[in-house]
Symmetry: C2
Subunit: 231 residues, 2 copies
DNA sequence: TCCAAACGTTGCTCTGAAACAAACTCCCGG
DNA sequence: CCGGGAGTTTGTTTCAGAGCAACGTTTGGA
C-alpha cells in the first residue's frame, strides 16, 4: 500500500475542519483500494465491518428482491462517505454497492467510527447530514415511483444523474459514468425496452444523444419539462 | 398544561437508561398535545423547530407531489420519536405527519436536541437506530414499488400495518387505526378502486374482513403467500 | 482477424390496472 | 328523523407499457 497523500481528504466536508496532522492520522489508518467497473464493494446483508469514502469514480447502490429483480436506489459520487451502517447501529449493510465506473475508495474498520465522531469536530454532523439528504432523496424517488408515469420517471432519473455527475461536452452535458438502458430501467422500475424507445424518441427530438453506455443531454430544459409537467 | 407523569417515558428505548430525576427533567421541558384524527402535527417544508415523541395513537407520514398526488411513506406508532429533522441537520421537515387516529404526543424545541444527545446516554444511539430502520424500510418499499405488481404491494402494505399495529380480535388480527381504501392506495401507488376490488376478493376468499375504515386480517398466512410469491 | 457476448433497437400482441361512471351505505350533525 | 357527505362497491372502457421475438451493432478477447 503506497503512502496516501493528505490532499486526498483536504476540502472534503467530513474532514474540512481538521488540522493536517489529524488528516495524516486518519489516512494512516485507512485502506485504499481500486475497484474495476462492475465490482462489488460490499453486499447487502453482509457484516458491516468497514465504512468507506469514495475518492474517485461512481457507485451504484442497489437492492434486490428474492425474485431476482433489482433496483438502483442511488448513486455515490466522489467525496461521499458510504457504507456508513455503523452510524445507524446496523451490523449488516442494507444494500449492495457496485462500481459503476472504475473507482477508488478508502475504508476504515467500524471500530474507528466512534473514535472519529468523538475526536473530529464536524465528522458526525457531516455524516448525519449526508444521511438526511439520502433519506430525503429516497423519499422523493419513492413518491415519484408511486405517482408518476414511466416517461417522467425516466426523465427525472436522467436529470438526477446529470445533476450529480454531469460534465460539459461540446454538444451538451454528459453523464460521467457508463449507463446502460438496463441500468436506467433499474432506476425507474420499467423495462430496458421502454427506456430504449424513450431515448430513441428523445434523440429524434434533439433532447439527448446516446450511444452504448454513454448519454449526453443536449437539451436539459426540455427534459425538465418532461419530468415536471402535470398530466 | 397538567403535570406529566414519569411513567409515560419509563421503558421507552430513548430514555430507558435514565434515572427518574432525569426523566422528570426531560418531562418538565416537554409540551404535550392531543391531535384529532386527520390533524397535521407538522407539514413538509415548514421550519423544523420542534421534535416529537408519540405517546398514543398512530401517525401517517406523507409526501405530496406538486401535481397534488400524495403517498404515505410510513406510519409512526406509540413510543417512537418523530420529526427528528434536527438529528439530520435539516431546518425544515421533509414530510408531513397526520394523526391517523386520535393521538397524543410530546414535543421539545430543537435546541434541546443537542442537550439530550450530550447528557443522556443512549438517546443519540436510539435515535439513529430508529433512523436506520426507517431508511431500510423505505428502501424496501421503494424496491417493492419498482418491481412488484399491485396485488403484492397491497398485500405487503396490509402485512406491514398488521405487523406494526395489529391487535388480536376474535376473528383475526385487526389494524389498530382507521384505514380507508384511499389510504391503502396512497401507500401502494394505485387507486382506491383497485384496492376495493382486491379487498372484496380477499374477503370472499376468507383472507380479510373489512368494513368502513376497519380491516381485520383473518388469514395472515395466505396474505404472506400473496405478497411473497414469485410470479 | 474473427467470434461471441453484451448492448441496443424495433415491431407486435396482450393484459393489468387506470379512468370513467354510477350507485349504494354508513355515519354524523342539525 | 332526515339530509348530506364521506367512504365503498361494481361495471365498463381504454390504453400504457410489459412481454415476446427477432435482429442489428459494438467491443474486447482468443
Amino acid at each position: 500500500m503506497p503512502k496516501l497523500d493528505e490532499s486526498l481528504l483536504i476540502g472534503l466536508p467530513p474532514f474540512s475542519l481538521l488540522a493536517r496532522s489529524q488528516i495524516r492520522e486518519i489516512l494512516d489508518q485507512a485502506v485504499s483500494r481500486r475497484y474495476d467497473e462492475g465490482t462489488a464493494i460490499f453486499r447487502e446483508g453482509h457484516d458491516a465491518d468497514r465504512f468507506f469514502l469514495l475518492l474517485d469514480g461512481y457507485l451504484r447502490v442497489i437492492r434486490s428482491t428474492p425474485g431476482g429483480d433489482q433496483i438502483i436506489v442511488l448513486h455515490i459520487s466522489p467525496g461521499q462517505l458510504f457504507g456508513i451502517a455503523p452510524a445507524l447501529q446496523r451490523d449488516t449493510y442494507p444494500a449492495t454497492s457496485i462500481a459503476a465506473a472504475e473507482s477508488l475508495a478508502l475504508s476504515w474498520p467500524v471500530r474507528l467510527w466512534s473514535e472519529f465522531t468523538a475526536n473530529y469536530p464536524g465528522f458526525a454532523t457531516e455524516s448525519y447530514k449526508t444521511l438526511g439528504q439520502r433519506l430525503g432523496q429516497i423519499q422523493e424517488t419513492l413518491t415519484e415511483m408511486a405517482t408518476q408515469a414511466v416517461e417522467k420517471r425516466v426523465a427525472s432519473a436522467l436529470l438526477r444523474m446529470v445533476h450529480q455527475s454531469g460534465r460539459k461536452v461540446d454538444t451538451g452535458i454528459e453523464i460521467a459514468f457508463p449507463v446502460t438502458r438496463q441500468n436506467i430501467s433499474d432506476m425507474t422500475g420499467t423495462t430496458l425496452h421502454t427506456v430504449s424507445r424513450l431515448l430513441s424518441a428523445w434523440q429524434k427530438d434533439g433532447i439527448v444523444e446516446s450511444s452504448r453506455k454513454r448519454i449526453v443531454v443536449t437539451d436539459p430544459h426540455r427534459l425538465v419539462v418532461l419530468s415536471d409537467l402535470q398530466g
